[in-house]
């Protein structure tokens, strides 16, 4: 009763109220700025890792070799975001790589760092690859001359089971001892969690039609078309990424064709007659520049094969 009638309440001097308010503001600011600082640090770190991964891919590129393989090991679980960009007006398009690392504090996956752009790289993989270990495999792509090195990336969490693959694919997998890729004769021999890649039958995770040179994935209705080494790209990467990389590769092919025409004109005055290649190269340059989808690869490949044959017959070969 006495307590109820006590109307004095809690008496506080102005100094106390002021100290509490200011103290709360200071503590809030400290926590907020620390959180922001940690976020910024993580973004910086992820940006650096992204750039380093891009740099690490350069030594894996080929010179005279027919292929190369490597492994990148990360200290923590990492997500690599692979984005291909080919905007109108851009000649070669861009390969963006950004990285996000797993954290034990706060959010499980930090926001990815600022993407590092490379115009001279062509990475074929899923849009997001996650793991602690990444397998890398490069192959030179020629049409009819070397255009670029194709880089294929998959993580240690992914397994691919090739059922009755072509001899070329079998040779690449066995010669380079590619980990996470097994070759079997029957689908029942594949490990349970692996992605089944079928060459002689359909209904698998990935169906390859060797006759039409196309690849179809289980959840997609569309197929993508390949030539030579691009088959690995068609198997490993997502449809949008694959089509974008094909366009970028063809844009580079177009530029290289036009350089080769200029070289032919330049050398013709030096007694290197290669004039009959010039219209063919001109046609290749135009066709590769205007490519809409991988469906047109077969036609371009035939033209490239003609150019290769003509070049081999020359006294001074252009390439």
């Amino acid at each position: 009763m006495a307590k109820i009638n006590n109307k004095r309440g809690l008496e506080m001097s102005f100094a106390w109220i002021f100290a509490i308010v200011v103290g709360a503001v200071i503590i809030f600011l400290a926590i907020y700025s620390t959180t922001r600082l940690i976020d910024t640090e993580k973004t910086t770190q992820n940006t650096e890792i992204g750039k380093e991964i891009g740099i690490l891919l350069t030594p894996v590129e080929t010179n005279l070799e027919s292929g190369k393989a490597a492994i990148i090991k990360m200290p923590v679980e990492t997500r690599i975001f692979n984005e291909c960009k080919k905007l109108q007006g851009e000649v070669f398009g861009k390969q963006d790589i950004s990285v996000s690392t797993k954290s034990n504090i706060g959010k499980e996956w930090e926001s990815s760092g600022i993407a590092s752009s490379f115009q001279n790289k062509y990475i074929f993989s899923g849009d997001v690859i996650e793991g602690k270990e990444f397998r890398i495999f490069t192959k030179p792509f020629e049409m009819p001359f070397k255009i670029a090195d194709l880089t294929f990336i998959w993580s240690s969490n992914e397994e691919y089971c090739f059922i009755n693959p072509t001899r070329e694919i079998e040779r690449d997998i066995l010669d380079l001892e590619l980990q996470g890729m097994e070759i079997v004769e029957d689908i029942s021999l594949c490990s349970v969690n692996s992605k089944k890649v079928c060459f002689t039958r359909s209904g698998c995770d990935i169906d390859v039609d060797v006759n039409s040179q196309s690849v179809k994935k289980k959840k997609r209705t569309e197929s993508v078309f390949y030539e030579d080494e691009l088959i690995f790209g068609a198997i490993l990467s997502d449809l949008e990424n694959y089509e974008c990389q094909v366009k970028r590769l063809m844009a580079r092919d177009s530029e290289l064709s036009s350089i080769t025409i200029s070289k032919s004109l330049f050398l013709s005055s030096k007694g290197c007659g290669s004039e009959r290649l010039q219209p063919l190269l001109g046609s290749l340059s135009n066709k590769t520049l205007e490519i809409k989808s991988s469906l047109e690869l077969r036609e371009i490949s035939n033209l490239a094969e003609n150019i290769r044959r003509e070049n081999d017959n020359l006294g001074c070969r252009l390439f």
């Binding site: 002021f18 350069t58 010179n63 115009q119 200029s262 030096k270 070969r317």
Partner: protein, 197 residues
């Protein structure tokens, strides 16, 4: 009469006491207010000092952090240039593919390449040039003096190029002979410096 006078004196005295009391109370409260004001002033000064201290600490921290980031950006840029220079002779625009030749550059093709603007920014390089080491010659290469020249500039931003990395290569080109022509290879090197991230 005396009684009335005494009462008046008493009342006057009471009023005086009351006046003195209220004056004392007023003076006391004024002293308290002054003390309070002093305390607030002290607190404000401490707060300002704290803010300045934290401001200075964060300034020093950010300066150090920015310089660290700049250092790592420079390192990454140099590392990229180093790796690229080692592999450039194998890239499609440089590779001499008429014969099987490792580390050989098609000098004729690179001369054409140096005239094309589309390759600016293609390799993330600030500076890229090819120098002929042997046989010695002079001058910047162009169509008029080629192949009797020394340096072929492919990317030249004109700015401070920073640390330059180099790698020795063979410079191969088509040479017209008396009868049939032939491929001639000379010693050269690629020089490059990277562009920041």
């Amino acid at each position: 009469m005396q009684i009335v006078l005494n009462e008046m004196i008493y009342k006057k005295a009471q009023i005086k006491i009351q006046q003195t009391g209220s004056l004392l109370i007023y003076q006391l409260s004024e002293i308290k207010n002054r003390r309070g004001q002093l305390k607030i002033q002290q607190m404000a000064f401490v707060l300002v000092a704290l803010m300045i201290f934290f401001g200075l600490v964060s300034l020093i921290y950010f300066r150090l952090r920015v310089s660290n980031i700049e250092d790592s950006a420079v390192n990454l840029k140099d590392e990229e240039a180093k790796e690229l220079v080692r592999k450039l002779s194998g890239s499609a625009e440089f590779a001499f593919t008429s014969e099987d030749c490792s580390n050989c550059i098609d000098f004729d093709k690179v001369l054409i390449l140096s005239e094309r603007k589309s390759y600016e920014g293609f390799w993330n390089l600030k500076h890229l040039e090819i120098q002929k080491v042997y046989p010695e010659s002079e001058g910047i290469c162009n169509r008029q003096n080629y192949p009797k020249c020394d340096t072929l500039k492919i990317i030249d931003s004109g700015e401070n190029t920073g640390a330059i990395t180099s790698s020795f290569v063979s410079l191969c080109r088509w040479e017209s002979g008396k009868g049939e022509g032939y491929y001639k290879c000379e010693i050269g090197r690629i020089l490059a410096s990277g562009e920041g991230i």
